[in-house]
């Protein structure tokens, strides 16, 4: 199964590499959203409230994640889906998607935080804790949205369904993330936030394991 995941992961990478417009599109989306935020707040350095700064960044990331991941099931035709079905285990498909989307989201969030602090200033007190929150959040977004994307791809109006299904289900994760990144803003040390980190990491693990168990049922038809 590891072999299958590896091959499928490489396939995702190659697909992305060959059609660069998708990743370029995401980067442009990221840059323009951040710039729109900057313009609409007329934010000089440090002039908006750190809590607003934090919430705005997570909302930007959430929307980008939904955009990036909802296409992961729709960009390939259903015939190709059947072809994969004959070749590999469904678990490998979802794990490779989660892995690929996690890598993608970690990349986007790290580029995002650099661009965001460039124009909006950076009030974060403990940057390493903030990066930990970003990585855990990216993995959580990727795994939750991969499964929801798989569900939404079954219906006709995929994009509406994707938004409606993913928003409520991602709020718990988002609340934990906001809490952890708020601690990072206040410059609280990592050792005092083990509880939050542990809860977030276990939430990620729960979602990943659940996706592995449930995805085969979505895919079987």
């Amino acid at each position: 199964m590891l072999q299958e995941i590896k091959v499928l992961f490489q396939k995702e990478l190659q697909l992305e590499w060959r059609q660069k417009y998708a990743i370029h599109g995401l980067m442009l989306y990221l840059a323009s959203t951040i710039f729109v935020c900057y313009l609409s707040f007329k934010a000089k350095q440090e002039s908006i409230n750190p809590i607003t700064w934090n919430a705005l960044f997570w909302i930007i990331l959430l929307f980008i994640a939904i955009n990036a991941i909802s296409k992961s099931f729709t960009q390939e035709s259903s015939q190709r889906g059947i072809f994969y079905y004959t070749l590999v285990k469904p678990e490998s498909v979802i794990y490779s998607k989660i892995l690929y989307n996690s890598v993608l989201m970690i990349g986007i969030s790290l580029v995002g935080i650099i661009m965001y602090s460039w124009v909006m200033g950076n009030p974060v007190g403990n940057m390493s804790l903030y990066v930990i929150a970003l990585i855990l959040g990216s993995i959580g977004f990727a795994s939750t949205l991969s499964l929801v994307g798989g569900i939404a791809a079954q219906a006709e109006n995929t994009s509406t369904l994707m938004a409606v299904l993913s928003f409520p289900i991602i709020i718990p994760l988002l609340l934990f993330l906001l809490k952890l990144s708020k601690s990072a803003l206040d410059g609280i040390s990592i050792s005092e936030n083990w509880d939050e980190i542990a809860v977030l990491a276990s939430l990620d693990v729960i979602v990943i394991v659940l996706s592995g168990i449930l995805f085969p049922y979505i895919w079987r038809h």
Binding site: I151, L165, P168, I169, P172, V199, L210, I218, H221
Partner: protein, 226 residues
């Protein structure tokens, strides 16, 4: 005798509810500052959440059964339990809102438990949307079972872990004393535990009625097609 054996839990549940109603409005309760007489709402508010979690849990059980055996009846049951769970969640929100007005001074307070429940209701309303957006019966059953299991686990994380990590006005959170330590004396326990069972029985009865109605509807549809 047969009927008695079959329906004893409904009778027991109704008797418990009559007892709850009587003791709830006329029984003795401890006097506490701020809470005063509103503490009686314990029997009508907290019990709703117990029933809701039980109903949603049974619904998840049927969803798992559906994924294992693909019996359409399991999907029908799972859906009926979710709908009943939502009814109880609405009742819980309403009774809680009244309680909040008279103790905390507002119909809706910015409290993690209230927000969690509101999010939970959004999650389950989205479940309804998934069902209505898939025309194929089998696909609908399979996808909504998957979503139901996923949603339930996320919801449990939300209501059991998050409020413990943030401040809340509810008893037992954020440094507030829990009901167990001071308010819930033995007199109230004698009503509270039966009340939980009574409301649960009512919930399961309601769900079963829904299931029976749906079964008849399905049969009628099949007849029309023939």
């Amino acid at each position: 005798m047969e009927t008695l054996k079959k329906y004893y839990w409904k009778w027991a549940g109704m008797l418990l509810l009559v007892y709850t109603m009587y003791m709830g409005f006329a029984g003795q309760v401890p006097r506490q500052a701020i809470l005063n007489e509103t503490v009686r709402n314990l029997y009508f508010h907290v019990t709703m959440w117990f029933s809701m979690i039980a109903l949603l849990g049974v619904s998840v059980y049927h969803s798992i059964q559906y994924l294992r055996k693909s019996d359409p009846m399991d999907d029908l049951k799972s859906n009926a339990y979710v709908v009943t769970g939502l009814v109880f969640a609405t009742l819980g929100l309403l009774t809680g809102s009244i309680w909040a007005k008279f103790t905390w001074g507002d119909w809706w307070t910015n409290d993690p438990k209230l927000n969690s429940v509101a999010i939970g209701m959004l999650i389950y309303l989205a479940y309804g949307l998934v069902r209505s957006s898939l025309p194929d019966e089998q696909q609908k059953a399979r996808i909504s079972s998957v979503y139901n299991i996923f949603a339930f686990i996320i919801f449990m994380v939300l209501i059991w872990i998050l409020p413990r990590m943030t401040d809340s006005l509810h008893p037992g959170n954020g440094g507030n004393p829990g009901f167990n330590s001071m308010d819930l004396d033995n007199r109230m326990r004698m009503v509270f535990y039966p009340a939980i069972l009574g409301w649960m029985a009512l919930g399961f009865w309601y769900a079963q009625l829904r299931i029976r109605i749906r079964k008849i509807e399905v049969l009628l549809e099949e007849k029309e097609q023939v």
